[in-house]
């Protein structure tokens, strides 16, 4: 697709410059080589994620229990929102490739429209990811962590998870958050959870229909739920503190490592998307002021397009390994 690329006069001299080995222009080839190396980076991250998952095979959180939110709708809808995000990204890939195609035919107006749509798609995807992160960080139900660092979820008799605030019995604690300005200046602590472990335990005892779901996955692929008496013993002997939401240290959905990988890999992908949007905006304005029209070639659209498709390609794998498998 180099018809429109300006050729130099040294065309027929193999070593005189101006020839294109592999019939690909320099810029496009280097973009491909960058993509190969970036693919290896992402492969490294996803392989590391796979390593930890294989290592903690029986206690890794199940994505269906974690990513269940859809904006503006209450309830439990796993997969729906992330499927929407995937579709948005594929869609913006399509408008990008349409822009490249219009560029080959030197149709400036069409390239402009398709580039604009691509940018919008990218922005929608990024906002969706921001929503995904914020619900993940905020948490939904709250959980109890054990001495060994495992996470216990509280369930009702129907097998639905119950939020701590729905049954914990508040007892009014004097415990305040330690801040470095009020005490030892060289230590600090994060925000205290809304309930103490004792309040949760008392509430659990007072509601005979509540049981505990453990960190461990059973034969059927679901997390094991304990009987009432086992649940009580589990909470009393192993329970240590209350966990609400997820951050780099603790995670109410399961292993903190899961949250770490989630923030790191989707964050790194989101960073790529942001860079892609910036490049797309630069190209969009260049198209608008006619830079490529004057140059006689829209190849720059194609090169940035390659990067944008690569971002989509990576998301396809992130989607599989974080949400499906």
């Amino acid at each position: 697709m180099d018809t429109t690329v300006v050729k130099t006069s040294a065309e027929n001299k193999r070593w005189g410059g101006g020839t294109e080995p592999l019939k690909t222009s320099y810029g496009k080839m280097m973009m491909w080589f960058f993509i190969t190396s970036d693919a290896l980076t992402f492969a490294g991250f996803l392989a590391a994620y796979g390593f930890s998952r294989f290592k903690f095979a029986d206690s890794w959180p199940i994505a269906d229990n974690v990513f269940t939110h859809v904006p503006f709708i209450h309830g439990n809808y796993p997969m729906i929102f992330v499927a929407f995000m995937t579709f948005i990204l594929i869609m913006s890939s399509v408008t990008m490739v349409l822009a490249v195609d219009a560029g080959h035919h030197m149709k400036k107006a069409k390239v402009t429209i398709y580039m604009f749509l691509t940018i919008i798609g990218g922005l929608v995807f990024l906002s969706s990811q921001a929503y995904e992160w914020s619900t993940f960080i905020k948490g939904t139900y709250g959980a109890v962590a054990t001495e060994g660092g495992n996470i216990l979820h509280i369930m009702d008799a129907d097998g639905n998870q119950v939020a701590l605030k729905d049954f914990a019995i508040a007892q009014g604690s004097d415990r305040e958050r330690h801040e470095s300005r009020t005490g030892l200046w060289f230590t600090s602590e994060s925000t205290l959870p809304s309930y103490t472990f004792e309040e949760v335990l008392d509430g659990f005892k007072a509601n005979p229909n509540l049981v505990v779901r453990t960190t461990y996955t059973g034969e059927d692929g679901h997390k094991t739920t304990l009987s009432r008496s086992e649940s009580l013993r589990e909470l009393e002997t192993k329970g240590k503190n209350v966990v609400e939401g997820a951050n780099l240290r603790q995670n109410e959905y399961g292993a903190p490592l899961f949250a770490n990988y989630f923030f790191f890999i989707t964050g790194f992908h989101g960073f790529h998307v942001s860079i892609g949007i910036m490049l797309n905006i630069i190209i969009f304005f260049n198209v608008l002021i006619g830079t490529y029209e004057r140059r006689g070639s829209y190849e720059m659209v194609e090169k940035v397009g390659l990067y944008w498709h690569f971002v989509d390609l990576v998301w396809v794998f992130v989607f599989t390994f974080f949400y499906l498998v």
Binding site: K23, I80, T86, M91, V94
Partner: protein
């Protein structure tokens, strides 16, 4: 390569499109279909697919194969790898595929080994 020299056949010539634009929409429909299958399987998780095949659930194998299928069509049709010279295509694709397969094999092997140490050794993690 002229701008109209796109290869317009997908599925090894089973489907041939009239123009590049038409091919793009065709590939979009195919990719959406594959994603829809993945999502439906992910929500319902049919019991029959829970059998172990080569050390992993059959369902997970289906997800991974469908992902690679999607990756193939994004690379070949959206990124125009289909239209590049075979030698250039191999330079990019084979390098990546070889290194990534090697990395995944060696790292997952190690992860599985450590898991077996946790499961069968004398390491206590639940207290």
């Amino acid at each position: 390569m002229a701008a109209d020299a796109h290869k317009l056949e997908i599925f090894r010539g089973l489907v041939k499109f009239k123009s590049n634009t038409q091919k793009i929409w065709g590939v979009l429909i195919f990719l959406s279909l594959v994603t829809a299958i993945e999502v439906v399987l992910g929500i319902f998780k049919p019991e029959i697919l829970n059998v172990q095949v080569l050390g992993m659930k059959a369902l997970n194998w289906i997800f991974i194969i469908l992902t690679i299928v999607k990756a193939y069509y994004i690379t070949w049709d959206f990124m125009h790898m289909r239209d590049e010279l075979a030698s250039f295509r191999r330079m990019v694709v084979w390098t990546g595929v070889f290194l990534i397969s090697y990395l995944i094999f060696i790292i997952l092997q190690e992860g599985g080994y450590i898991e077996s140490v946790f499961a069968n050794g004398f390491v206590k993690t639940d207290f």
